[in-house]
Symmetry: C2
Subunit: 170 residues, 2 copies
């Protein structure tokens, strides 16, 4: 395996590379589609989380999204400046802020959800209906089987953890 001519399979035959390539593309596309709304994916994630459970503390949002608390401060700052969310007093813990979704935030979040659905369709367009369903199933198996937390993106700025992604061409 360490010979002069190792297995020169093209990168496009490596599942790991294809996943990284397509995942990176998906992330870029989502970021681009979200840009006109004036929010980043991590902010959309925050809005989405609040829509499901309003009034969470920043700390709870950090845990759910795998974002460091130092970073969450800036995210919520931006969202609050834009009138999308609001920091209120937490009823039980005077240290914490309860973050609440405002009407404008609710609306923007809904537009983001629509975008994410449209992106699904865009990315899967090359496949027939049957293959689309099969792919979804396989990806879910991979996600669970590789120990990834459902709905949590590894690329976030969680606690220490990993270096940078990238995988240029492996």
């Amino acid at each position: 395996m360490t010979d002069a001519a190792p297995s020169y399979v093209p990168l496009s035959d490596h599942p790991a590379f294809l996943l990284s390539q397509l995942g990176s593309h998906s992330g870029y596309r989502f970021t681009d589609l979200l840009a006109p709304l004036g929010i980043k994916p991590s902010q959309f994630g925050t809005l989405r989380m609040l829509a499901a459970n309003d009034g969470r503390t920043q700390q709870q949002l950090c845990e759910a999204l795998n974002i460091h608390r130092n970073v969450m401060v800036g995210l919520v700052d931006d969202l609050e400046k834009r009138g999308l969310v609001e920091r209120r007093k937490h009823p039980a813990d005077r240290r914490a802020h309860a973050v609440h979704l405002l009407p404008a935030g609710q609306e923007l979040m809904a537009r983001g959800v629509a975008i994410s659905i449209a992106l699904d369709a865009e990315l899967l367009a090359p496949l027939g209906a049957e293959d689309q369903a099969k792919l979804l199933e396989l990806l879910q198996q991979l996600s669970v089987g590789n120990g990834l937390t459902p709905g949590v993106h590894p690329g976030m700025t969680g606690e220490p953890g990993q270096p940078k992604p990238c995988e240029p061409d492996h």
Copy 2:
């Protein structure tokens, strides 16, 4: 679609999210597995490219890998310091450097290839042989169908282009 209760499909049911999540994981894993070798994915890509076609100019490497030339300088600097590659005079163009793979670079590249093969197996382990083949086929269709250049990673630092990936939880 902009109603109070939009399609609250879990993120783990969004193919776009799953691709981003798994792709990010794949990239992190590859970076980690490569770390003991002392090189980054982009440097492995450079070595791999040279192994296929030695003596390329930095500019040619940039085009093949979608890396900006300013960044390539640093990558080759590092590789040269570690005795993995060597800059020589280009036979035809005195402005250009011909980058050549040294024996140590050849060996390291081969180890990287072995790692990328092992990573394929690791990531696909949750699937049976038949599903593994099916997934590879589907991913290749998606890559081509979405206009991605075979073997070229979008996450590289090419010309201007896109903002950042990330897609925290869309």
